[in-house]
Amino acid sequence: MKYLISLLIGIVIGAVVFLLGLYYNPFQGQTAVSPLAVTDQRVIEMSFSAVPGDALLYTDAGDSKIEPHPDRVAELWEPAIVETRLIVTMLEDARGGVAGLGIKYFTASEATAVINGEALANSVWHVYLPGQGTMMIDQTENYWSYIRDVIIPAHWSSADNWRGTFHGILTNGPGSLGTARVSGGSGLFAGLTSESVESLTARAYSAVSGPVSMSGSLAIALPQPTLANE
């Protein structure tokens, strides 16, 4: 009997060691520098609040800690879309003015492999910039560093929250340099194919209600011919 108990205790310790190894894995770094930092194209940068309550609309399956917003918005509870979240938000330019409208769909990816430090989501932005045009941005995002550095510490905290400074690049594909793919649709962007990177900056997170102070940024590289038309 004592050998069985010893074995079970050993298995539990082994599982904890494995989880700690995942959490503190020094080889799973966090990308903080945008791959577009070295591009010779002009980069437009737009920011948005990543706090769902600040968005025009946020909805999901209705079973997460984040409340859908506004009241009576349809929830995505049907089996095929239950892993999908939708956020509709205003995009701001560098001076804080309104740059446009962004609709983001993001769905947890089946390629997620926590053992590799990958908590992946397939996401798509449908973007409208008044007077300029429309585009779709598709990307694979990796939320592992955000989960590791923000969400887990918030749950470990006795106050059920996290405060600090987190900045990370979420985009990790499908571009070979870890960039998102931009497909222009109308206006100045018609026919455009380019790259983009989304990043996240967090300052406060509640284990009870989700993001408290958090902003996102979309950097989009624009080829020179597009600029010539401006």
């Binding site: 009576r72 939708l86 509709v88 089946e110 997620t112 492999a113 409208y128 008044p130 779709m136 497909s183």
Partner: protein, 190 residues
Amino acid sequence: MVKTLLAGIVLGVLGSGALAWFVPAVDLHRERSLISVVPNGGNVEVFHINLPRDRILVGLPNDDSTLPADLDWPGREHLPGLQAEIFKVRDRNDTIIGVASRLASAEEPTGAFIEWVIHLPARGTLYVNMGVTPTAEGLREGTMRAGTRDFATLSGTMSERLLSDLDEEYDVDKRIVLETRLVGPLEAEE
């Protein structure tokens, strides 16, 4: 007993690793794709949206008529002329399989546009630019601009038609029918 404990630790590490490696963390629900193959080698798929039941958001230039009712839509002030709608999307069996956004503007200085992004979580996303002027029968044709995952290598067209006077369920007044006709890339000859 120490040896048993050490063996347990190794077993725990290896077991957890195997669990993390082999058990998928995410398993998306898949509906069977209801695709018809046409003689030219392409495929046709029909999606539809029941109105008003499948509406998630309606943002109009006149921001008095938004959905949800409490939506703080900045239409008149910041998005003049833009008509934004977001829906749930159904397949031919009337099962919800995705979500879609339709953006349209007739007053855009760079040119009027109508376009769809159709996001089917288990399959990928379609981005389609529609023609601004519908045919006499109310059919609007568009061209696929881009696609992701299952749709990444496909190209083709999509039509949009609004059907009204439906004699079906009590809460379906109208229906948007989207029909995609997509073809894969030509295979290189061996």
